[in-house]
Symmetry: D2
Subunit: 361 residues, 4 copies
């Protein structure tokens, strides 16, 4: 197999991700080689492309794969070649201090202290990723999740990152039965946060965005109210919707000062802002001090990264299989791997109402 | 009793708190009249004096009383006149939505939504306070806490605010057995946070301040390491103490950008900053975005106000009675109520190593 | 008003609850007098009738009211006569130690220690209840919950007890997104637990009962699978449904050894049995020791009583108003207050597929 | 090395554990070979010896080792041969569903569902254990914990099981600052639970046992009150100590009906019984139904097994290194490995006030 090659979307240099020929990778101990059937492009891939997030030139990009096990290390039990699987964007090893504390997203791997910011994100970041014909799943025993037969690739394509991240926005905010929740920004992660808030029992789910198609999708995901910030002041509008009370939990799903600040402003005292957005590195974040009650308002700000591992993936797929949520509407465009550069252009430009693209191989 | 008067420390106008004669107050339904035996001055009283925190002119100041029940409304059960009691700075009613959610510090009283920032803080804020010969405990049934016989007034003087607030710094940060904790600022609240972290099982308690006497007291309160920020960079020093790992929880007990920021910088990924300081109202708070991992670091920022109510007070007094902590070292100066203006001058100037003053009546 | 009388369902002696004339009650401080429009009969009322649960002869029974405020003590703010309201079966005062710990169901009232088993249940237990033309809401400020205009009496009739208790089965079990949950017994509380598990994000909800109409209603409440224990062994069947894995959480909603035991048997290691049933007082409960892993299985058994207070009621009504759940199917029969003895006969006999009866006044 | 042999305590048959010659084991992938310097005997080893807990004949017993790394698989990073280490009785792999849920004690390894009762307990149970000159640490990357230089073997000998298990009794009971806690049975695990309750901030720690030397040691571990059940009724005595209120948390550290039942009887309403004892397999456990409030008392029963993994071990050793607790008093007798059969006889008979034995190699 060493002589064989495959196509892969490779980061070449700033503004250049290209489809190139690379050798099909070998597997090491505890690894699985997966033949990709469907994958997608993430906002963070666009950051990589723009040079805003540094990865090694030559790296294969992508961390949201669905595919078929092509080859398994003999140490990996409970799977067989030919199984249809996916793995999360975050592929924890399970043995670092962070993992042993149940915080797999901050998996420090072999580092001395065992904790690392976004340390669990390996695919398309620190090792070759999944926008390719084949890729290697590290720590396969902890990360391979069987896709139920009745679900199509596209039905589970949001599971590895968008759904896991977005749902964690609601979960980390501890949304419970009867809560009022506002979700700021209705991109793919925000839409999943909207669905997650609804699934957690929120009695009132308020979705904020400025694009009509996103607000329409937000309703499909379970929003009771949608607020178009291009037409009304979202803070005023949410205070009106809640009769001046404010919300129990707000979710920031954008990564901007405006949404962060509005998320705080609509909270009732002692409310929680759950942040899942990624903020630009060149601008510090400001907490408006009066909104924050000068420290005595009892507010909480919690931030979360995509939870990974096979058990998380299994649970999310069960949620879809049970018909609790349908995330297919998030896939607005479809491409072949051969056309992935075109897909990148579309996705980067956010033209044509694109939310997520499905890349089939 | 209507013709009788008493002495009370009254906010007159900016920079003027004066001891004046006022009528001894009448009690209404659910109230208790308490004859104060010992009280103290809080940093927030200084904010009031400076005009930085607005209260009604003529209001009696003070929210940290120990005293004797002088008179009880007939509806209040389980107490009798002559009982030695204290009540918290926060005196919740128990019936607002916030209270019914277990969040008594944000007690909205009769307001429509039932939540209010610092709404549980009534004494010396929205009603007459305790720097007087007598004061009225509102919602007495929820707030009167019997002082165990074996404890002196001074031994429990920190209970109503400093201890309850400082301990909540450790509690809200969910400090557990084996954690590494840093506490920024060792004023009375910070010292109590240090004691609270130690009592919660932290294996390493690191106290930061710039005054030698406060650092010495921090050691008495249970700090394993003290860091003098006038001599070393506290972030570097804490990273050295923790071999580069960082702390699980940091407590901000000052209310300043510098301590807030340092509190974040020393956290391990997914660590918690627990904030109990009160920040100046004229300056927004900045989260350094790289320290925050651009949102993917898994950090939590939680803020808490003094928990109140008789059960909290009972528990804290049991902690003292059991000899778990001795907070008497926080009382550095003693005054008679007649000399309270002098006490204010000393406390406001932070001269002579003052930490807390005991005012006896 | 002292000369006026009303009709009330009164416990006379064992096996006799009768409709009698009683004086319309006076209100005391903090009270509200409510004119009942709709109420219902609870399983615990049947226990009272059978003499299995002791109350004072002459007591008016009932704790699940919807009605109109007739008269308000002047101390109660934020309501006015004529408001349509309900209150919970549990009417906490808010000032006991239990309430101050956020555990309002165990409200000890004025007792020395502040905790009491089922202490929050006053109506139709320790004070006159709501199966009458009028009743008094104690601690009205903490307990009056406005019914949204768009909801009918019958739509909210399950809120005061069945919904609050049943939902707490899911909540205390900490059901989260993706969990597998089994609910044992589909009486009114069990059906609400089924709805609560579904609303909490469970990916698989399995309802167990022996009556076809209850299993059919369970499907309406959100059960994915129903198990008829008269036809199959429920433990075997649930293990089959979960491919041998077991469930994350099971809810006991009956109060019997069989359902308790089966609830334990279907748990995966470290799973939680959440118990909301009331067990007969003459038979101890047995934990099968092998099922329990001899103590090393990591299992949890948590028990909960109806959470009360106006905020809980508000949240549950918001859940209904938002269309998240429709509990009207639980009301199978309707009676006038004049015919309440007949309603008792029907409900006690569990004839004609009765689940809950609506009693209109 | 294949020709070399070592001494090991081997289960031969019921009532026979003998010191035998066995080959020094080979290491596989992810393994470490450790040369044992100190180990000890556990109550569960006695169950094995008596045939009450089945293991394969020929198995080396023991799961509480301190030693020196002799050989490391090349995949294991961050350690070197010669490092002094220990590992827990529970050695999780980190990749099963249970581990990925943060529940490492129930590690299902490769089993289909990923959960298993006591599945994390491998040493001396499903693989050769540590009462030998050498043993293999499975999943070494997740389980090797460096012993700080300043601590002797004996100072950390309780860490792998007694301390981790006993402390979890307090932790799972969620003991917090100001709580009142009773610990039933003061064997090694109970004594550690006593220390753990004290370290968690309990204001009143009540230790129950029937042996004077254990009660004396309980005081060293932090008990404020000791109750000798041979002299007084422990339930009555605890109610007296708590002025009739009862305790917030009780810990069962024996595994018997009597202690379980008493643990429930002394709880205040809505209190928690935390069980860490191992119950005999031939007798079901009974919950006295009136004590349990017939299900409406809000009680919780939580059970926990020894938490394992290197991070847990690190934290516990930091607690000892910081001087928070000294567990050396639990070691009452010392033996050479050559005399381990004699140690078994002593420990099994519970003669001479034995609590734990140190076995040096």
């Amino acid at each position: 197999m060493t002589s064989k090659t495959m196509k892969a979307a490779v980061f070449v240099e700033r503004d250049r991700i290209e489809l190139r020929e690379k050798p099909i990778p070998e597997i090491g101990p505890d690894d699985a080689l997966v033949r990709v059937t469907t994958t997608t492009i993430c906002g963070s891939d666009i950051h990589i492309r723009k040079g805003e997030y540094a990865v090694a030139p030559g790296l294969t990009i992508g961390h949201e794969p669905v595919g078929i096990i092509e080859k398994l290390d003999s140490a990996v039990k409970g799977y067989k070649e030919g199984d249809r699987v996916l793995c999360s964007a975050v592929t924890p090893g399970g043995y670092s201090s962070a993992c042993l504390c149940g915080m797999h997203s901050y998996d420090g791997g072999d580092n001395q202290h065992g904790w690392q910011i976004a340390g669990g994100w390996r695919l398309g970041n620190t090792i070759d990723g999944a926008q390719a014909e084949f890729f290697v799943v590290p720590h396969a025993q902890a990360n391979l999740a069987i896709v139920p037969n009745q679900l199509t690739d596209e039905e589970v394509l949001m599971v590895p990152d968008m759904m896991s991240t977005g749902f964690s926005g609601a979960e980390s905010g501890k949304v419970g039965i009867g809560d009022i929740v506002a979700i700021f920004a209705q991109g793919p992660v925000g839409l999943c946060a909207t669905a997650g808030a609804r699934l957690s029992g929120a009695a009132k789910v308020i979705a904020v965005d400025g694009l009509p198609n996103r607000l329409a999708t937000a309703k499909l995901m379970g929003a009771d109210h949608v607020v178009d910030f291009t037409k009304v002041d979202p803070v005023e509008e949410i205070m009106k919707i809640t009769s001046g009370r404010g919300v129990d939990v707000s979710v920031e799903a954008m990564g901007s000062q405006a949404t962060f600040e509005n998320g705080l402003k609509v909270l009732r005292p002692a409310g929680t802002l759950s942040s899942v957005g990624i903020y630009p590195q060149d601008k510090d974040l400001t907490i408006p001090i009066k909104t924050f009650g000068q420290g005595v308002g009892g507010f909480k700000i919690v931030s979360t990264t995509c939870p990974g591992g096979k058990e998380r993936m299994r649970q999310l797929m069960e949620v879809i299989a049970a018909g609790r949520v349908d995330l297919k509407p998030l896939v607005t465009h479809r491409f072949k791997l051969d056309d992935i550069e075109e897909a990148y252009d579309l996705f980067a430009s956010q033209r044509d109402g694109v939310m997520k693209v499905a890349i089939t191989v």
